[in-house]
């Protein structure tokens, strides 16, 4: 009897603790949600109670009519899609070669890639800037795609290669006997089997450009070539504080991300766990 009571009290304490913690986790998110629908501009003029100022959708209208939000969104989507598609293509092709062929400089190349993948790309950003200037890629979306793509390759080639190593080589052997060439084996046999890792690679390389700031800031100049991160940042600089519009814009980006994460939560847990064990 007494044990049951202490158990119940423990439970209440745990739930209370979790609830308070949830409040802390949710507070900024709820506040931003309310700011997006509140009249006014700066964060200073907002009521401290969420949704305490009334309700308006004016900021969303403003986003679509008076700012370049749609252009930013399109640009970012374009960059993310191209980066993701090209990363999948280049990294998996390289991974296939590393996994299935023996050639002269293989060891050196693999080692170089392993060492290179620890450096953040922006360590060499001055040089990247000048190289893009040289090849006409400055202030171009494809210039940014090239930079992301190159930065993605070393780590992801290794990742996909490790996965492809686990695919039995007898599968491609039998295909070769049936007369398939390397390209067919790669595209029709290995890629479908490696689908889980390819999807993972596609998702990670698609989401990264949405949040990047340094390279777009450095490479993109003209107003019609900005990305979402740059645009959102421009709402809350030292010079002006349009927190409510920033909030509206942020929510439109964040909602798809949040929905996606909640849907894939289970799969992520297992793939993370798997990654930790397998390595």
């Amino acid at each position: 009897m007494r044990r049951n009571v202490t158990k119940k009290i423990n439970m209440v304490i745990v739930v209370l603790f979790l609830s308070i913690f949830s409040l802390g986790v949710l507070y900024p998110l709820v506040y931003v949600l309310s700011a997006a629908f509140s009249p006014g501009n700066g964060v200073a003029s907002l009521s401290i109670i969420p949704f305490g100022d009334g309700f308006t959708t004016a900021h969303f209208k403003e986003l679509f009519t008076n700012t370049n939000y749609v252009i930013w969104f399109k640009n970012t989507l374009f960059i993310a899609t191209c980066t993701s598609a090209l990363t999948i293509l280049v990294a998996s092709l390289g991974a296939y070669v590393f996994s299935r062929f023996r050639f002269a400089v293989k060891k050196t190349l693999m080692l170089t890639m392993l060492i290179l993948q620890i450096f953040p790309s922006f360590v060499g950003m001055i040089a990247i800037y000048v190289i893009l200037l040289r090849i006409g890629g400055l202030d171009q979306l494809w210039g940014l795609v090239l930079v992301y793509l190159a930065g993605n390759i070393p780590y992801n080639t290794w990742m996909v290669k490790s996965y492809m190593d686990t695919i039995s080589k007898s599968i491609d052997e039998s295909a070769r006997i049936d007369g398939a060439n390397h390209l067919t084996i790669f595209w029709k046999i290995i890629m479908p089997i490696a689908k889980p890792i390819i999807i993972f690679l596609g998702i990670t390389s698609f989401t990264a450009p949405w949040m990047d700031f340094i390279f777009p800031k450095m490479i993109l100049r003209s107003t019609d070539k900005q990305t979402l991160a740059l645009g959102l940042f421009s709402f809350v600089t030292d010079k002006k504080n349009e927190f409510t519009i920033f909030a509206a814009g942020s929510i439109l980006v964040a909602i798809p991300f949040v929905i996606f994460f909640i849907i894939t939560q289970k799969a992520m847990v297992t793939s993370f766990g798997g990654a930790a064990v397998k390595e």
């Binding site: 953040p120 001055i126 040089a127």
Partner: protein
């Protein structure tokens, strides 16, 4: 052609010599592999044709141009273009020598095959072999090209800049040239110049402290949440898990900018709320006092980062066999002992690589600092060095390049990051399957 080679291996030197003399010559004269030989020879011819240009570009790296104040700006030597072109040309020359080496080795191995088989490959066989070998080349060319020009060349360039005086106001092309200065930047940063030395020490220590604290808080925050939510008596755990995952799902630029506004000292919502509730009297300088700002950075980063480890640890915990717990429970272990002796060691062991990856990620965590505090608040040396109280090495690099245009010092910092991260790179390398299985 009447030139023959012997089958007993004694013609090895002949082949070696001709192959070294001109790329592909051994293939053409002795091995009769014309297609392969001509491709190799063509590469060398192309290289010889480009030689004057190669030499002028490489000498450009050595001189970095001469100052010509009398000519219009457009015609002056642009040291930085010269440096980058030179580095790119060096990369191409290196690539050429690698191909050269491959060609010589290929000739020797073909000769070995000839000695065993006692006959030369006919052209059709050698063509087929060539096509088989073409696939790896075709498959790796995009990767290698991109990595050489967008990763290796920039890194080498950065390393070179650390030995020049490329900085505002006196050495910014195209107006002025840049010169080699040896180790001057390093001596200035490491003791020579008091202001820069203190700033570097301060920022380097904070970078390490930050990376350790950021990783530790996120890890243990995630661990506690994972353990609490794993308790199967808690029926509403999925709801809490759903809530806790939210900060991870929001793009970090967005969440950091939100916090920056909420925590603003004078008009931020957090302070206004606390004052209204009479919890505090005066506004708390969340982001504007040195120590407070550092603390805030760690806390906000924990808010954004603990869900990752919560997910991760939940994943590893579900993978632990329940037999272990069963056996321990029979032996009379209580819940705390189960956690302390079974769960914790297993989880720690399995997530160790990811803790280390997270540490290296935090050393370079530009977003968490830049969008929250912008590196501020200003401290004693900030006016000269631009490094604020919460600046870590990467944000300082950003400020040095974008605001101060002191590229030389920024490159010294980049090299420091290299030194900090190198042990982790080695660790990661030793850990890989390929290394353990002797493939590398």
């Amino acid at each position: 052609m009447g030139i023959r080679i012997k089958e007993d291996g004694s013609s090895k030197n002949k082949i070696l010599l001709t192959s070294i003399l001109f790329m592909g010559l051994g293939h053409i004269i002795y091995l009769k592999q014309y297609v392969k030989g001509i491709i190799y020879a063509a590469i060398e011819v192309l290289m010889l044709y480009m030689l004057p240009k190669v030499i002028s570009k490489i000498s450009g790296v050595i001189t970095l141009g001469t100052p010509k104040p009398e000519v219009p700006i457009k015609l002056r030597d642009h040291s930085i273009f010269m440096l980058i072109d030179g580095v790119m040309v060096l990369a191409i020359v290196l690539l050429f020598f690698v191909i050269y080496l491959i060609s010589v080795r290929s000739a020797l191995s073909e000769y070995k095959i000839f000695c065993v088989q006692k006959k030369l490959k006919n052209n059709r066989d050698s063509m087929r072999g060539l096509l088989g070998k073409a696939f790896p080349i075709f498959g790796l060319a995009p990767s290698v090209g991109l990595i050489v020009f967008f990763v290796v060349v920039p890194l080498v360039f950065s390393a070179f800049v650390a030995f020049t005086n490329y900085s505002a106001p006196n050495n910014i092309p195209p107006n002025n040239t840049v010169d080699w200065v040896g180790f001057d930047n390093f001596t200035a940063m490491f003791g020579g110049d008091a202001t820069w030395t203190t700033a570097l020490g301060r920022v380097a220590i904070w970078t390490l402290v930050w990376a350790v604290l950021a990783t530790a808080t996120c890890y243990f925050g995630g661990l506690i949440m994972a353990v609490v939510l794993m308790d199967n008596r808690l029926k509403i755990a999925p709801i809490f898990r759903g809530i806790f995952i939210l900060p991870y799902a929001v793009p970090s630029v967005v969440s950091m900018l939100i916090w920056q506004n909420l925590l603003n000292g004078s008009f931020g919502t957090v302070n206004r709320t606390l004052i209204k509730l009479r919890i505090i009297e005066k506004a708390i300088p969340w982001l504007s006092s040195d120590w407070m700002a550092k603390f805030t950075c760690v806390m906000v980063n924990m808010w954004a980062g603990f869900p990752y480890f919560m997910l991760l640890i939940t994943g590893t915990m579900t993978a632990i066999s329940s037999d272990l717990f069963e056996a321990a429970r029979i032996d009379g272990a209580n819940r705390f002992q189960l956690f302390r002796k079974i769960t914790l060691p297993l989880v720690l062991y399995q997530t160790m690589p990811l803790i280390i990856m997270s540490f290296t990620y935090n050393v370079n965590n530009f977003g968490a600092i830049f969008f929250l505090t912008g590196g501020d608040p200003v401290v004693a040396d900030s006016t000269v060095t631009s490094a604020g109280g919460t600046d870590i090495l990467v944000t300082w690099i950003y400020k040095l390049t974008v605001n101060l245009m002191k590229y030389n010092y920024a490159s010294v910092l980049a090299i420091m990051i290299f030194i900090i991260l190198a042990p982790f790179a080695i660790f990661q390398f030793v850990r890989t399957k390929s290394y353990r299985e002797g493939e590398l």
